[in-house]
């Protein structure tokens, strides 16, 4: 199995989730992160002093799928998350050696819902 982790713009989460559901990927875990890359942060000004906020809010979405789904998932995410502007994010694929469903103890493919 592979884990696909997508760093996306937060307001795209709903679209990406729907796109994944459409191709029958229904399990995923999401967290709020801050990213640094080409997209610039912003400057805040408080009482005359400037502060740079170097990180921009991003959402990280991770889903573990069977190997044969990887390409479809990547395509779905690209389609749903892309705006064409800098900062759209990245997708990373890593290997997962084992998956266990806590409730049942099922392993691997069976454990993916």
């Amino acid at each position: 199995m592979k884990q696909i982790t997508a760093v996306i713009k937060p307001f795209k989460l709903d679209d990406v989730k729907d796109a994944l559901l459409e191709i029958d990927v229904s399990g995923m875990s999401v967290s709020e992160i801050k990213g640094h890359g080409r997209q610039k942060g912003h400057t805040e000004l408080y009482r005359g002093a400037e502060y740079n906020v170097d990180f921009v809010p991003k959402t990280s979405l991770a889903t573990v799928v069977k190997e044969d789904q990887v390409d479809a998932v990547i395509q779905a995410i690209i389609k749903a998350a892309s705006t064409g502007k800098i900062g759209d994010g990245k997708i990373f694929v890593t290997n997962v050696e084992r998956v266990v469903r806590i409730r049942t103890g099922e392993e691997d493919a069976d454990a993916l819902s």
Partner: protein, 398 residues
């Protein structure tokens, strides 16, 4: 003595502006909280300037440009009663932009909004205020002659609330809905409030301050009436219970329902029977809930806090209800007629609707009234004030 009386009234209504601010802060998204706060206090500032230099003279033909020695504040004079009366009435006048603020928030530009505030508080509001509360232009006399009584609006259901609410209608329609509020297919999208406790805090401050608004409208300590206090209380309670039930326990509805009752009771609080006031409040609370839902979901008017159903609808209902429940037939103190109330209310509504559209369309044409898409997306806080509401959290290091 009366200076003391009105000072407290003014302080209480001044506090209501903090209430407006927090009601708005709690309802908008986090990225617009700072802007809500600054807009409310700035509006209050410019309202004071406009009403001091222009508005009060428009309404009551009084100004304060003479040296202190001639202003009746020294020993032997009346201790500057007129000045504190100015202060008290200013806090009403400044409620106009505060009411509108809740409708246009999250997308309005900063300085054009200030311009609108100055025009409304300096000219349009005092024009109608003077007509009703100072007998200007013979309107009240004409009503009295035509319908057997002049228009009775004790504490401003129409003069302040319907006026503010219908001015807001023009503003809201001129601005249009927030980005993504309604999708192209017509679906209503979730734009959720950020902070219910702040919303509730704002509502509480408004409720408490309202007793200054209503009771101190008597003008002198001697004239203060327990009936006004009791009617305000019962209408508030009626409003909140009705909104609780009609609104299915929703916190936004309950806390605004209390205000709906208070808006509606202003006009006739000095003449209605308490049971009548309770009834007026119940209707206001329920109507607010239905009006809000109808406007947002059917008419697709994106009035963020619901100031139109709250202030116009309940305000107009209050103006008319004074002509029903204020009559002796229904146990009230009398001295009002239904027709005078109806005509008075409609006149106010007419002025406000026209005034609102003219002012906001003009500002839109001349200055632009709406934030750029990019700024709206980023939030008014960063776009206008270069800071967010919780700056420490924005910096990663702690």
């Amino acid at each position: 003595m009366d200076v003391f009386f009105l000072t407290l009234g003014a302080a209480m209504v001044l506090a209501m502006h903090a209430g407006f601010a927090f009601l708005e802060v709690g309802t908008v998204r986090k990225k617009n909280q700072v802007n809500a706060l600054i807009r409310v206090i700035t509006d209050f500032g410019f309202s004071t300037i406009a009403y001091f230099f222009v508005g009060f003279a428009v309404a009551y033909d009084i100004n304060f440009f003479a040296p202190v020695a001639e202003l009746n504040v020294l020993a032997g004079g009346e201790h500057g009663y007129k000045m504190v009366h100015f202060f008290f009435l200013l806090t009403f006048a400044a409620a106009i932009p505060a009411i509108i603020s809740g409708g246009i928030t999250e997308r309005v530009r900063f300085w054009p909004n200030v311009v609108a505030t100055v025009v409304l508080v300096g000219l349009i509001y005092p024009f109608f205020e003077g007509m009703i509360w100072n007998g200007n232009y013979g309107f009240q006399a004409w009503l009295g002659a035509s319908f057997g009584a002049s228009f009775h609006d004790f504490a401003g259901s129409v003069v302040v609330h319907a006026m503010g609410g219908f001015l807001a209608l023009g503003a809201v329609l001129t601005l249009g809905p927030r980005l993504e509020r309604y999708s192209k297919t017509g679906a209503v999208n979730a734009i959720l409030p950020s902070n219910i406790p702040f919303l509730a805090l704002g509502s509480w401050v408004l409720c408490v301050g309202w007793f200054g608004f209503n009771v101190m409208s008597a003008g002198t300590a001697e004239a203060a009436s327990g009936l006004v206090a009791m009617n305000s209380l019962l209408a508030m309670v009626g409003g909140l219970i009705a909104a609780l039930i009609a609104g299915k326990n929703d916190p936004g509805f309950v806390h605004n329902g209390a205000l709906a009752g208070l808006v509606a009771v202003c006009a006739g609080s000095d003449i209605m029977h308490p049971v009548g006031a309770l009834f007026v409040g119940v209707v206001a609370g329920a109507v607010f809930v239905w009006g809000f839902t109808f406007m947002q979901n059917k008419l697709k008017i994106d009035d963020v806090l619901g100031v139109v159903p709250l202030h116009c609808v309940c305000g107009a209902w209050g103006g008319i209800a004074a002509g029903i429940f204020g009559t002796t037939a229904l146990g009230g103190a009398g001295g009002v007629t239904f027709m005078a109330q109806l005509v008075g209310t409609l006149t106010g509504v007419g002025i406000a609707v026209v005034g609102g559209f003219v002012v906001y369309r003009a500002i839109k044409a001349m200055l632009g009234i709406r934030l750029s898409e990019e700024d709206e997306h980023m939030g008014a806080d960063l776009a206008i004030h270069q800071i967010s509401a919780y700056p420490e959290e924005d910096m990663q290091t702690h």
